[in-house]
Subunit: 239 residues, 2 copies
DNA sequence: AAGTGGTCTAGACCACCAT
DNA sequence: TGGTGGTCTAGACCACTTC
């Protein structure tokens, strides 16, 4: 484990245990250098991570302060980063239709595939035993094949994209999302406990690798009575 | 202007002008150090900003590469950062109800105010002359007073939060958002060209200062036929 | 005047990738 | 084996805040 990561974890833990209270000033860089026996650069790297997570904020000439609790961890799920999306704790997945290969020109094009061949599967997600989202997933045929060999369990925790991440040779680095509201299609409503025509939260999400190659297109239909999309925006750190 | 910022702007410009093509390898850190006469640390700071914006990606042992164009600037509006939200180019604001002070226990509580007194105003946003969103805004009485003195124009480009930013003594550093789908309330539908009961995209957004103090609560109703919320997720740089 | 975080330099070692 | 980015050290100067 690298030093700055250990240091930031240590500081993060101290904040979460309440050893530094909200609004309070944190130790200065110089103090931490001495106490942990590391260079100032390493301390700054550690703080950078805490600032990015919104746990602390820094004011030149004054110091480093713990962000007020009311602005943190307020929500059970705040999906503002890719990591959070890939390990969705507290919910369960149920595979409704296992991976199969089909011809689908439109979704093959979305995945920038050369032919019309795509892999597809359908999953449902439950919270407290009740379904709140139905997702149709499209994959490149290669990814679909690997997922089939892996033998995805019919139900349980975890996510398809998280499973895929373990299988693929290179990491998933991003996703572009589009959210809107639509009337519930008839074939969806029964699966997530709502009536046809009622408003649904519709989300399209395209995951891609570091070179920009798309690997998964996920189209989700959320029951808005059981789920709302929460998101934290922050002013960029390096701008 | 600081050096690393000049350097990152220079590299950003070169990428946008197509001097480094998509997928192509960028100059190495050592090359840039020599060419610009700066230290390696400064070059790394500059690259950090480009990575955060998704313009380039870096692979240990191999090099730095320009992200494929299809993963960037694909959308007219991709609201993934606070900056983008505060200067919403291409759209126009229309004030439907100017700032007034009222008593409103619920929204005063959301703004963590000591009394029930809040300032409120209602604005509509147009794209190509057609309305696509109605927003009810709640402010602290102080912020509302300042906004009223400023004499917000009845219509034009810009945003309320952007105007507020110029007025306030300390900067807005973040916002927490919640998105869901609702049936259109009767009092909204006529204002954004849709029918009562049709699905709307409903967004609540609470802006706050660096110490966590809330300053503005914006509740927006979007016509989903004219707007969808686009968002880019990336794997964190400092995690 | 002393202390804070922000920036910058010069140098070092490492794991990893390509050849 | 040489080159890449990732990490770390030790030291410096600066603008700004606080006293």
């Amino acid at each position: 484990m690298v030093v700055y990561r250990e240091l930031s974890d240590s500081l993060r833990g101290a904040i979460e245990r309440g050893e530094f209270k909200e609004g309070e000033q944190m130790p200065t860089e110089a103090e931490i250098c001495e106490r942990y026996g590391v260079s100032r650069h390493t301390v700054r790297q550690a703080f950078q991570s805490l600032v990015a997570d919104g746990l602390v904020y820094r004011v030149p000439g004054r110091g480093t302060f713990v962000t007020r609790l009311s602005r943190r961890g307020k929500y059970l799920r705040s999906i503002g980063t890719l990591e959070e999306m890939m390990s969705w704790t507290g919910t369960e997945m149920e595979v409704m239709q296992p991976v199969e290969i089909t011809e689908d020109v439109e979704h093959a094009r979305r995945l920038e595939l050369p032919s019309a061949e795509v892999a597809t599967l359908r999953v449902r997600r439950m919270y407290g035993g009740r379904p709140f989202v139905m997702t149709q997933i499209y994959l490149t045929p290669e990814a679909g094949e690997r997922l089939r060999e892996k033998n995805l369990p019919a139900s349980g925790p975890g996510t398809v994209i998280g499973t895929l991440e373990e299988i693929l040779p290179s990491p998933i680095v991003g996703a572009s999302q589009e959210l809107t509201a639509i009337p519930s299609p008839r074939f969806i409503s029964g699966l997530i406990d709502c009536k046809p025509g009622e408003p649904l939260l519709y989300v399209e999400r395209l995951y891609y690798l570091e070179d920009g190659t798309p690997v998964e297109l996920a189209i989700s239909y959320y029951n808005p009575k059981r789920y709302s999309y929460r998101l934290e925006l922050r002013r960029g750190g390096a701008h």
